[in-house]
């Protein structure tokens, strides 16, 4: 069973980012084929140097870094979304593959289920 999870929301403003991660980690217990896509404001979840101590919130970045312990390694980020937000790959903390939207769409067709947050 293959699952694609699309992260479209910025972290901290809503709980979407954390809830998505909970789902990814849970899903990884049931199947090897979990892919994560970061699109739109979701790319902000990947920014390094997040210090959430004053917000009393879980640090999204630290949690994302735990992904590879769960064997979730297929991580993709949208090049258009990065460009619109003046971000470069170097500013991102995780090892992600940058793809244009057309290729992301193509990859999605290779998954049985697609969820988005």
């Amino acid at each position: 069973m293959s699952i694609a999870i699309i992260n479209k929301s910025a972290p901290y403003g809503t709980s979407n980012a954390l809830e998505s991660l909970d789902l990814v980690l849970a899903a990884s217990n049931y199947t090897q084929n979990v892919s994560l896509f970061f699109i739109g404001d979701g790319v902000f979840q990947l920014l390094s140097h997040q210090d959430s101590s004053q917000l009393d919130s879980k640090n999204i970045n630290k949690t994302l870094n735990a992904l590879h312990f769960y064997d979730v390694e297929d991580l993709y980020v949208c090049t258009d979304s990065l460009k619109q937000r003046n971000l470069s790959l170097e500013q991102l903390s995780l090892g992600v593959t940058a793809l244009p939207p057309t290729e992301i769409a193509a990859l999605l067709t290779q998954h049985q289920h697609v969820l988005s947050f």
Binding site: A10, Y12, G40, F44, L47, S52, Q54, R85
Partner: protein
């Protein structure tokens, strides 16, 4: 003199840009929560600064998101935010 309090990302919806039409030079804007992502939106920042010099960002929100401070946009603590709210005639949660 109004203090416009913004909380949504300029990339996610048009709330921030829709506020521009209302701004006068005496008004202030405080970027809170996801509106702090305006720090990554050069176009948005240029438009905002063309309207007013009084642009603030909640430091805790900026730090949490890993965003770099800009000179034109002053960091405020929660205490300073309270002072801003008291200084301005009204707070408009936009």
């Amino acid at each position: 003199m109004n203090l416009y309090k913004l909380k949504s990302s300029p990339f996610a919806d048009s709330t921030v840009t829709s506020c521009l039409a209302m701004l006068t030079a005496e008004d202030a804007v405080v970027l809170t929560q996801d509106a702090t992502y305006a720090l990554q939106d050069k176009q948005c920042l240029t438009l905002l600064s063309s309207k007013t010099n009084h642009i603030f960002v909640i430091q805790a929100d900026r730090l949490a998101r890993g965003l770099i401070a800009l000179e034109a946009i002053k960091d405020v603590t929660y205490e300073e935010m309270v002072e801003l709210c008291v200084t301005y005639d009204r707070v408009i949660s936009w």
